[in-house]
């Protein structure tokens, strides 16, 4: 699961290399969304500090 965003970014770079800009940006967006979901999963605990 954690390797999925890397895979999406790699596919995006591949698409860019093949001059498919819209597809590349789509892979980038999907990668970022999965990355943020994973961040949400891994940042679930409350940090006890006063800001």
């Amino acid at each position: 699961m954690m390797s999925l965003p890397f895979l999406l970014f790699a596919c995006g770079l591949g698409a860019a290399w093949l001059r498919q800009r819209a597809v590349a940006m789509g892979f980038w967006a999907a990668g970022v969304v999965v990355m943020l979901v994973l961040f949400r999963i891994h940042a679930s605990s409350v940090v006890n500090i006063a800001l």
């Binding site: 699961m1 954690m2 390797s3 965003p5 890397f6 895979l7 970014f9 790699a10 995006g12 770079l13 591949g14 860019a16 290399w17 001059r19 800009r21 590349a24 940006m25 980038w28 990668g31 970022v32 990355m35 943020l36 994973l38 961040f39 999963i41 891994h42 940042a43 940090v47 006890n48 500090i49």
Partner: protein
Amino acid sequence: MSGDLARLLNALGLIAIALLLLLAFIDQLWFGELPCPLCILQRMAFIAAGFGLALNLIFGSKPSHYGLMILGATAGAAIALRQIVLHIVPGTGAYGEPILGLHLYTWSFVFFALIIIGSALMLLGDRQFARVEPLPKRLKPLPLFALSLFLALVVGNVISTLALCGLGNCPDEPQGYLLLQDYFGSNITP
């Protein structure tokens, strides 16, 4: 700023990001410091930011590509900040050994901030966006080197993360390569 200067700076920027990813790999493979989930997420964010530079090298400079960089670096800065806050209270421990007085996640935050500032500065150079002649199909050596190195490190991270975490989520404090343990049935640690 001319288009050629922008392309040179983009290539150098992408090499700099690739070097950061390479240093993280050296820390992992040579010094045996396995990356935590937040560390892996920061690597992703560096790649998300570098993606904009890669698009600039292939398609020419566009404001939207710098937008991708700023968004990726902002996400990365948030992830790094979360990890800084986790360890900011004295006595709450830290993850990994400090380098030049700062932990890797603190350096990450600094570099994400620099990427955001650098992108904003690059956006000030309007002339790079006014290119009329089409870009050559064949990339010059420096952009080709930067893109090849970056792509190799992205693929390397796919393999490394798959080996480290398997198909599920990564453990908070990884002790070994989970996929290899599952496959070979032994505890393989760095």
